[in-house]
């Protein structure tokens, strides 16, 4: 899966990394998806990889961010942001200034807002294409990257995207390498000044602990192991729904609008 060559010299890659949170103990750590993004960047030959984090620097985040340095990096750029700040402008400005070809990010953060929207907002603001759920970067040549996107049930889709672009990774990307204590400890956190903008929206939101929601049981009546396996591996088949082909955008929009109303998403 490694790209064999890049004729146009080195490839500037920036990986956006966040402070993760262990699901059981809540301890800070390198976020799993971000670490996979770092691993993906590491395996790109000829890539010059930068790590970028926007957030607070305190004892907890220091240890977590050093987890990324332990994967073999000498430094990590840190855009200092207070709690409750919208990191989007700071990241966008930093990326515009540095001008990387490829930006890799995890699908969503392990703590904080965790909406998974940041890559999209960033792509919108920078005007770059975004590809989600990446499994591998197969080749980068002539300003075009050949990507392998992970789809459900192990399917893969090959895409070509013009650089610069933002790609996000989830659990389908290769597992991150071990973070070594020595390099993690020796690595530098380069704190850089960045514009701070308060997240006015978030200040108005109310946060409460998530409740476990009831899950719909899938009742499988199967006589044999083969049937059970088929049921487990089968694609979810929607009973209703319709496939529209050769319709005008207006007709399509109309159909979607109607469905959303039916489902109660729009009122």
């Amino acid at each position: 899966m490694r790209p064999e060559s890049h004729h146009d010299g080195s490839l500037a890659v920036t990986v956006l990394v966040s402070v993760g949170r262990h699901p059981l103990t809540g301890r800070g750590r390198r976020a799993d998806q971000d670490a996979r993004g770092v691993e993906l960047a590491h395996t790109l030959t000829g890539a010059e990889v930068e790590l970028l984090h926007a957030g607070r620097l305190d004892e907890g985040s220091d240890a977590a961010l050093r987890g990324y340095l332990g994967m073999g990096f000498e430094s990590l750029s840190l855009l200092e942001q207070p709690a409750g700040a919208d990191v989007l402008p700071a990241l966008a400005e930093a990326l515009e200034a540095a001008g990387p070809q490829l930006v890799i990010a995890g699908e969503r953060a392990e703590q904080g807002e965790g909406s998974g929207l940041l890559p999209y907002l960033l792509a919108e603001r920078l005007g770059w294409p975004l590809v989600s759920g990446l499994a591998a970067v197969e080749e980068v040549a002539g300003g075009v990257a050949t990507l392998l996107q992970a789809l459900p049930r192990g399917q893969r889709r090959r895409l070509q995207v013009r650089l610069p672009a933002i790609v996000t990774v989830d659990a389908a990307a290769p597992a991150p390498r071990q973070s070594a204590y020595g390099p993690a400890r020796r690595g530098r956190l380069d704190v850089q000044a960045a514009p701070v903008m308060d997240d006015a929206d978030m200040a108005e939101w109310q946060a409460q602990p998530a409740r476990k929601r009831p899950k719909r049981l899938k009742i499988v009546k199967a006589a044999s192991a083969r049937d059970r396996f088929k049921a487990a591996a089968a694609k979810a088949e929607g009973g209703g729904g319709q496939v529209l082909t050769d319709v005008t955008p207006e007709e399509g929009a109309e159909a979607i609008f109607k469905l959303l109303k039916e489902e109660g998403v729009l009122r």
């Binding site: 262990h22 301890r27 332990g70 994967m71 071990q178 204590y181 020595g182 390099p183």
Partner: protein, 660 residues
């Protein structure tokens, strides 16, 4: 003519030996500095040699007698030869005692060398061949020629006996002998073991292990304060100088190889080869000249290195492969068996530290286990809040509630393991039956750090250890009891360096004491024959061989001993993170151990370690049942006569303050 020739030869050989010694010392001094009391060490050396070393050699009676005759004869002959033939002290008093003593010494040495020669006729596989095969001949050459040149000195032969041809031939043989014995000693021949070995004994990194009944088995802490220092051993020169000296002392007798479970299982580890590779690395070169058994599955001659090059390459080959280092179960069988007192396990863990802390290359599940330890304080990644779920119905008293008890029961990570939970429940039943005042830390307990440390992650070990020590410091207790020998060893022997000093008991020791004090009564054993498997971390690491056997005896069980038991017990394969790094071999170590059990015909193997239980129970198609000593005791419990039990229970209240 010999009168002129002999002093020249002797002093030339001595001078060459001194030059060689200087070169050898320079090689050792490539290593890191280490604080060793030099004069005290030299003063203690004869005792260490004559008592401690001889004690190990004497496990093979024939070999120890051979060595006493050869080495004793040589040392005496060498000293006397210098006096008599070198300085001419014998000729003034021809009938003087020196010459006769020299004859006796060289004769003794010759007898010894005959036995060495006999051993080399059909040498066992563990012995190195190559230059070692010429050693008996060299020993004979030396002893015979010294004997012959001394005959005229004492007047048994006329001074001008024989022609100059004979004198010349004799001189030639003597040159050979002197060359091997003096020149070879410091220039890298087989006799190097005598020179390096003597100094190694004097400057040993674990001086405290010498002396009757003494042990020193805890790993030494790595200094993590210096942020810029490379952690662990990357290059041969990263070892301390006395470690390098220790490697150089190896006699290649292969006793370590014979007892190594990883070698027997066909994993790519041979402790002897590993030590020789370190010697190769120290001097620079390739392992092509190594003449012993290779690492299983790896031909000799493909690896090379030098003192300032990497031991393990990130890619390709260097001095040794990482798999070699990760095959070790840290069972210490090699260290126990080594007549030169070389510390193989220390060296292996030193190199693992580099691989884990600097390369981030702990193989297989190693990285995951270490991440779990960092995030959840247990290797399985379980919820720390679920640590006591197994005992939900037992209403175990918590230290947090009681603050002060007699016995702190350390559960270990076996609390998460369903098999070990049975052992823990049995142990609780036994403690309650004996009226022991005990409590557990509950969710405040963390992994002891054993696995992290042996996987080379010293940072996580020290972090866990310091937090455990801080927790333990909050409470008052007299002793810690645990059914996990790994926790036992770490708490008892390795926390001390970090400031935690505790009186720790393995549950078998504690149960044996309870029984001796009359606080437990057992119904007689009705089952079949039983054998006992010594856990490495209880036996070899802590010298506890008797207590488990005493408990079994008290239960009315006659232990059918395995051939390899006690200090020679074979590892179950579960130590040192070996099941986690899981280096493939030709067979599995626990299968071999269950084979040992089968040979005794026992229907049940008693164990005292959660790791051993898991490893041995994992053997398919085994005839023997695996049960922990605590389970056997709990099953055999009967009520004590009422008033007897009451009185004992009352005296069991804590009388003294805690020991911290």
């Amino acid at each position: 003519m010999l009168d002129i020739l002999l002093p020249i030869l002797i002093f030339a050989a001595l001078a060459l030996a001194v030059i060689g010694a200087g070169r050898r010392v320079r090689l050792w001094r490539q290593g890191r500095s280490a604080r060793v009391p030099l004069l005290k060490g030299l003063a203690a050396m004869p005792r260490r040699y004559l008592v401690d070393l001889h004690h190990v050699v004497a496990r093979d009676k024939a070999m120890s007698n051979t060595h006493v005759a050869t080495a004793g004869g040589f040392v005496a002959a060498a000293v006397l030869m210098i006096l008599v033939h070198g300085l001419g002290l014998g000729s003034e008093a021809a009938e003087g005692i020196l010459g006769w003593l020299l004859l006796a010494a060289s004769a003794t040495m010759f007898v010894g060398s005959c036995f060495v020669a006999r051993r080399r006729r059909n040498p066992p596989a563990r012995l190195s061949k190559g230059p070692w095969m010429r050693l008996p001949k060299s020993l004979m050459a030396f002893s015979l020629s010294v004997f012959a040149i001394t005959l005229p000195t004492v007047g048994l032969l006329p001074q001008d006996f024989g022609s100059w041809v004979l004198a010349l031939a004799l001189s030639a043989v003597l040159v050979w002998g002197l060359g091997e014995m003096f020149f070879g000693m410091t220039w890298g021949g087989p006799m190097k073991h005598a020179f390096a070995g003597a100094l190694h004994l004097a400057f040993h990194r674990r001086a405290e292990r010498f002396g009757e009944g003494n042990r020193s088995t805890g790993l030494k802490a790595l200094n993590l304060d210096d942020e810029d220092a490379t952690l662990g051993v990357e290059k041969p020169s990263d070892f301390t100088w006395n470690q390098l000296l220790g490697f150089d002392a190896c006699v290649q007798c292969g006793r370590c190889e014979a007892v190594c479970p990883a070698f027997a299982a066909g994993q790519p580890l041979n402790p002897k080869k590993l030590i020789q590779d370190m010697v190769v690395g120290m001097a620079g070169g390739s392992d092509a000249n190594y003449a012993g058994s290779p690492y299983p599955g790896q031909p000799v001659g493909e690896h090379q290195g030098d003192a300032h090059g990497p031991i393990v390459a990130r890619e390709g080959k260097a001095l040794v492969d990482a798999e070699t280092l990760w095959s070790c179960t840290t069972c210490r069988a090699c260290v126990e068996e080594c007549p030169m007192m070389i510390e193989h396990v220390d060296a292996i863990v030193d190199m693992r530290r580099f691989l884990t802390l600097e390369h981030g290359n702990t193989p297989n599940k190693g990285a995951e286990v270490l991440d779990n330890l960092i995030a959840t304080d247990n290797p399985g990644g379980f919820d720390p809040g679920a640590r006591m779920h197994w005992a939900a119905d037992l209403e175990l008293p918590l230290m947090a509630d009681l603050q002060q008890v007699d016995v702190l029961l350390w559960l270990g990570d076996g609390a998460y393991d369903m098999r070990n939970q049975r052992t823990l429940r049995s142990l609780v039943k036994v403690l309650r039956a004996a009226g022991v005042d005990f409590a557990v830390l509950g969710n405040e307990e963390r992994d002891s750090g054993d696995v992290a440390r042996r996987l080379g992650d010293e940072a996580t070990f020290q972090s866990l250890a310091r937090r455990n020590i801080a927790t333990l410091a909050k409470y008052r207790f007299q002793q810690i009891v645990t059914c996990d020998p790994h926790s036992f060893h770490v708490l008892g022997n390795e926390y001390g360096e970090l400031g935690g000093h505790y009186q720790v008991y393995h549950h078998s020791t504690f149960i044996a004491e309870l029984h001796e004090a009359g606080r437990l009564a057992f119904r007689p054993w009705k089952g079949g024959s039983v054998t006992y498997h010594d856990p490495c971390y209880l036996g070899r690491y802590n010298g506890e061989f008797e207590a488990p056997r005493n408990v079994l005896r008290a239960l009315g069980i006659q232990v059918a001993e395995m051939e390899r038991s006690g200090f020679r017990s074979r590892c179950c394969g579960g130590g040192g993170g070996a099941p986690i790094t899981d280096i493939p071999g030709k067979q599995r170590i626990p299968d071999m151990r269950m084979g040992d059990v089968r040979e005794t015909g026992a229907e049940l193997v008693a164990v005292g370690c959660p790791q051993c239980t898991a490893m041995l129970e994992g053997v398919v198609d085994s005839a023997a049942e695996v049960r922990d000593i605590a389970e056997l005791v709990a099953d055999a419990l009967v009520e004590l006569p009422a008033e007897h039990g009451k009185g004992q229970a009352q005296t069991a209240r804590p009388l003294a303050e805690e020991v911290v």
